[in-house]
Amino acid sequence: MSLSDAGARIAAQEARLITQIADGNLEEPMQELCHRYEKSLYGFGAHILGDEALAEVMVQEIFQRLWRTAGRFDPASDSPRAFLFGIARSVGAEIRASRLAGTGRPARESPLPPLPDSVDPILDALAVREAFGTLSAPRAEVLRLALEDGLTQPEIAQRLEVPLDTVTARTLHGMQALRAALGERVPGERSTGDG
């Protein structure tokens, strides 16, 4: 099965979970969606709010709203991920706005991190981090050695005692798999241009 088939299958599963929530079947679908999304939503919140306590509040609020608005979700045209991150953006914006209003200070003196021109880079980073967990162990290993330890391909080959070509094939195929995750990130939104 190709990666995009897997993505479509997951999206269909998650769409069913949201529909179940809309029908008032809360506990299991909520648990499943929390399990799948709490990490990336928390990471997103921590990034745009610069505060993990507020990120926690934000994630709680997102799921409260998911429950309230699940009825508006249209499985035919909405992607579950886009739906959740749409809620996340508005909750995040509300928390930012109320914090700025509360300080009475101009935005440039705000304790909040500056909001990037686009949240796309944040979502890209979250999607890639998440997809990292789905890589095969050999591919994840070579990528970690490069990214965390700064090792070059020949150094990795030496460290792992595998042929250089194998290391490069693992690295590039691993990146290809991660790129597929980026292509599927929040479909239905503004295209990232590289899908």
């Binding site: 008032g24 509040v57 709680q60 309230r68 109320s98 509360g102 300080t103 490069a146 391909q153 490069t168």
Partner: protein
């Protein structure tokens, strides 16, 4: 997607270049090589974006391990709590005092009961009104000093307004109140300046049985607004009610160090999602206890059913 296999022809240096592991000299050399090597060009074109994302991954943050369980609990409590009767304790003067509003304050019209749904999805008019209120409530930078004098009128109606606002809990704290201004949970909230720090979380565990709960305490001028969400509490005998307490260190049955945080009842499902007000600072009175009580001398008689310690 480009067919798998084409990138296999790329040289190892392409992978290094994409992941930023080449030394500057080697990177410059690869730049020259790239101009002539179609296989490396394919890999760079296809994987350049993901390479940049990988090189700029922000540090990972991990949500608290029990967050998912608390979220599920709070949604279930809110779903059950829609039918829950709410007994609000008397509100302190700080919340009764209206904030100055030049135009007709919203409290002049009868307020709907504090149902969460209507406040989570405010009508455009409500949203506009809240936005206006938020602007008018923006405190001056000099803490307290420049704040206009509060007008004491229609305090009774404001009590209802404040009660409704308190009952909305989280949504209200985000959308209605003048702002969440603390920067981190470790920083002491500003008192008197009209700003609010990060909430204090208290996860409640049962002494026995399967009840569970969570409280979120927001520091506001004059005290703490506490949103309490509980599940799995038993039905009480007629006339009985549940009570929420803050216990200080050294609390013992003979020498109670307890402050009441309010009373509530649960619906048939055993769940409740209520907001309460207390002067007790959960950073000092760190233990929250839930007991079942009967009308009497307003002290704690029931055994502790749920308890938890504030995370500070």
């Amino acid at each position: 997607m480009t067919a798998d296999g084409l990138i296999d022809l790329a040289h190892p240096e392409a992978a290094d270049w994409l992941l930023g592991t080449l030394e500057p000299a080697a990177a410059a050399e690869f730049g020259d090589h790239l101009a002539d090597c179609g296989d490396c060009q394919t890999a760079v074109a296809e994987l350049g974006h993901v390479g940049r994302v990988l090189q700029q991954l922000p540090p990972a943050v991990e949500p608290p391990p029990d967050l998912a369980a608390r979220i599920v609990d709070s949604v279930l409590a809110a779903a059950a709590g829609d039918r829950t009767e709410v007994h609000l304790p008397r509100l302190p003067a700080a919340l009764l005092a209206p904030r100055p509003r030049p135009q007709a304050p919203p409290a002049q019209r009868p307020l709907p009961p504090p149902e969460l749904a209507s406040l989570y999805h405010p009508s455009p008019e409500t949203r506009h009104r809240r936005a206006r209120a938020a602007r008018n409530d923006t405190p001056a930078p000099a803490a307290g000093a420049a704040r206009p004098a509060r007008r004491q009128r229609r305090a009774g109606r404001y009590a209802i307004a404040a009660a409704a606002a308190a009952a909305v809990g989280l949504a209200a704290a985000i959308a209605f109140l003048p702002g969440l201004a603390g920067t981190t949970s470790a920083e002491a909230p500003v008192i008197g300046g009209g700003t609010i720090g990060a909430p204090v979380l208290i996860v409640l565990h049962p002494a026995a049985g399967t009840a569970s709960g969570q409280a979120t305490a927001w520091h506001l001028p004059g005290g703490w607004s506490v949103r309490l969400q509980v599940r799995g509490l038993g039905r009480l005998a007629p006339g009985q009610y549940y009570a929420c307490w803050y216990a200080g260190s050294g609390n013992k049955s003979r020498h109670p160090v307890l402050i009441s945080a309010g009373t509530f009842s649960v619906g048939p499902s055993g769940s409740a999602d209520v907001s309460m007000w207390t002067a007790a600072d959960p950073r000092q009175f760190r233990t929250m206890e839930i007991t079942a009580e009967s009308p009497g001398d307003a002290s704690q008689h029931g055994r502790v059913i749920l308890s938890g310690v504030a995370r500070t």
